[in-house]
Symmetry: D2
Subunit: 258 residues, 4 copies
């Protein structure tokens, strides 16, 4: 059976879900269900234990693997503190590292991310770093103990698709860790394409959360991820320059009278 | 419920299947099953009643709508003769018109196709013409009585994807008939994309038949078509130039000591 | 020397210019000069002999080949009448056929265009038909006596680039007439790309006329067309999947002490 | 006048030339001339003072700014040693940093490159680092004292074009240093496109060196770079979804009899 192993956990679903930007948090349980996801990420600051605001965890079934992220961290130190906080709060030992000091494109800082990954991996975290697609940085993340690598397809929330295909394909081909395309995926077809390229999983948030119908859009992504994965496993045929008749062209009507 | 109506028949599946190029015809029933298709096309010349060769119809369950095609026809007259022959042979009254005199790219001849459509529609056929995407030709096909319009994404059998997107989108927006993207689709992601654009269905043959695992590839296409359709119905969000944080970025760690 | 022969005229410049949409007609002579074009197209209705309005011809030097177009024609008959009118008005015997009945995309009607081409070519016109890129229609234009074929890259005035590349490349490869990419080209890089593909010329209007600086933009297109043509003649190298070092990588610093 | 200032030198040409891969070195002077370049890069190891082999410098006119590169360096230390060696050999104080330990894609190591830039900038070098396009790395190169930033469009020598457009556009918009697109550019149209995007210059080697006619291809790139720059300065018009008639469509033939 085709399964994905990350941090000792076996996953059947290759679609990871983000929880930001939903107009109504109440819809999240149904979105999770229709997406069939097994891993959900949330900003640690939104896990409000004091509970003046409602706690995002209330909307996530306990069978789901929590992937707290360090959104808001601008450097290694802050990312490490947020990760430890998340674990202390009972979110488990998975963490998605986001170190971002650029407010316009929200692009990750690979250098700080590598450092945070190294520290947290040594502390026993299952570390999934969000990164700018770059082979040498990915190799350093492997050495630093990452459990997967999460390159961006396009800036967060832009729905612009996999604009960094050239670089992500190289990561897929060269890095011996699961590659999870994160950020930028705006359409199910793009999620399918990532999977056809050989990505191990995709993470989607904005495209589902800001759709007119998040529950059905979550299902659409779930189907697309399965489609792309199946196609990858079944091997796509080559592109050809000239046409190839589906059946031989000659000699039908000419062979005799009809 | 979301259904597609063509020629008075209500279809749940929006994936049409071609039967050429399969290495072993014996696999066709399982491919049809895993594709969930309800409409299957085959060259009329391959419906061998005399049965020296095996008859392609033996592999197609009788619940499936047969869509005999006029592959091999080089002009209106030949297309019309083949269509009539198919009906006489008991293939029903659906016909996919293919009029092709170009052996290199197998590009359709819109002018002859329009004429054949008009003749056959008047004779009560449900006519689905394969065409080079062009708005004015599509308008003439509507007037000629076509039941759907089948523009090509790329030359037959090339797996090159939807290279004529610009023109197909215009057909989708302007033509009041089902638009079925036919030819060129080489990957499930491309089928999903056609559906996201608003196409009503896609026809796939080569990409499935020449895959390493046609049964699973058929399933991949089935999932992708559903994904794209669901996304279209749920409305995709807009592309944005700059990043949009999934959650507000400021004021987490700075608010107090942790 | 690399020259383009159309209708018995030898052209050094492979950039044709349209005259619509300029904010100030007075700028046209300088635009023509900086573009180095030798062929300029204008709507016949803008050639106002009665001269209540100013006459576009006043702005075009007499060394330039006039290419009156039948813009406004909705069918063969109207196109033929406009062409004859243009000749009677002294615009010469070149004509660009535009038959358009679609007001939203301004897409040409290939069927009517072929008929008009046939009539006018027989009357001694040098006929350059604007067309929707389609191999079989182009073949009929050849038979009808066209002097060149002008497929669209994208709808008129959209600046969307060569979205029909797949189909235009086929025309370039298969049709024994000059192929002039017309409509849609919005950037010099796109004009260069058309020429690299093997197009014989391009026609540009909107991209120049609506630029902030039409005179310099005309020069930019002129340079780009030359660049693309030179590249085509000098043959482009192949794309490769893996990197190719510009110089051998091994054994520099290691060979000894520096 | 539109000029580019790097390291205190004013450049009129925005095309930088690489000298690797030419089948015959004897052609290099003519290629330089037809390219109109003012900056030429060469691997330091190819500057053979001992002169068993011929010295690449013999082919470069002394008015040209030499840009020795550290090709062959696998880490900071090696890059620094090669740069110092180049200066000691009389190649001047410009240096293009290449730190590459990946033999398949020849992708640069941003981390080591930043360190080498910092050391060499402090020693008075004019440092142009070759880099994987990534905003945070580019910001660090600015801080490290780089004179320009050279992001890759695609792996060296692949002729694959600007596949990292999304990330390079961000560098152009956000980094206050000249952005020179290096590696991957395979066609003049792609060079023009980089310039239209707002890049300050491009560096080309393989596409010229491996062409059938390097002298004319060099000229083609020279023209294309000028075209793209002029278009950028003249501002491109917007893309539109629907067609825009070049001249008003109504009321020509209908106004009266002709």
């Amino acid at each position: 059976m085709d399964e994905l192993m990350i941090g000792g956990v076996t996953l059947k679903s290759r679609l990871l879900l983000g929880t930001g930007k939903f107009a109504r948090k109440q819809i999240i349980p149904d979105v999770i269900k229709s997406s069939e996801t097994q891993v959900v990420t949330m900003a640690v600051r939104r896990v409000d234990l004091g509970a003046k605001e409602e706690n995002i965890l209330e909307y996530i079934h306990k069978d789901i693997v929590l992937l707290p992220n360090t959104s808001g961290a601008r450097n290694t130190e802050e990312a490490v503190r947020i990760a430890r906080l998340a674990r202390a709060m009972g979110c488990g030992n998975w963490v998605k590292i986001e170190v971002i000091s650029d407010n316009k494109y929200l692009l990750p800082d690979n250098h700080e991310t590598i450092k945070a990954t190294e520290i947290l991996a040594k502390e026993g975290f299952v570390v999934l770093p969000y990164m700018s697609p770059d082979l040498m940085s990915a190799k350093r993340l492997v050495e630093a103990g990452a459990a997967a690598v999460m390159p961006l397809g396009a800036p967060i929330g832009t729905n612009r698709g996999i604009r960094t295909k050239e670089l992500i394909q190289i990561l897929i081909d060269e890095i011996d860790l699961p590659i999870i395309v994160d950020a930028g995926i705006g359409r199910p077809s793009e999620a399918a394409e990532a999977m056809e390229m050989g990505a191990d999983a995709v993470l989607v948030n904005t495209a589902i959360a800001t759709s007119n119908d998040p529950i059905n859009m979550a299902k659409a992504f779930s189907l697309a991820v399965k489609a792309g994965r199946l196609a990858y496993l079944s091997k796509l045929g080559p592109e050809k320059e000239y046409a190839q008749a589906s059946s031989p062209l000659t000699g039908f009507l000419n062979e005799g009278e009809i």
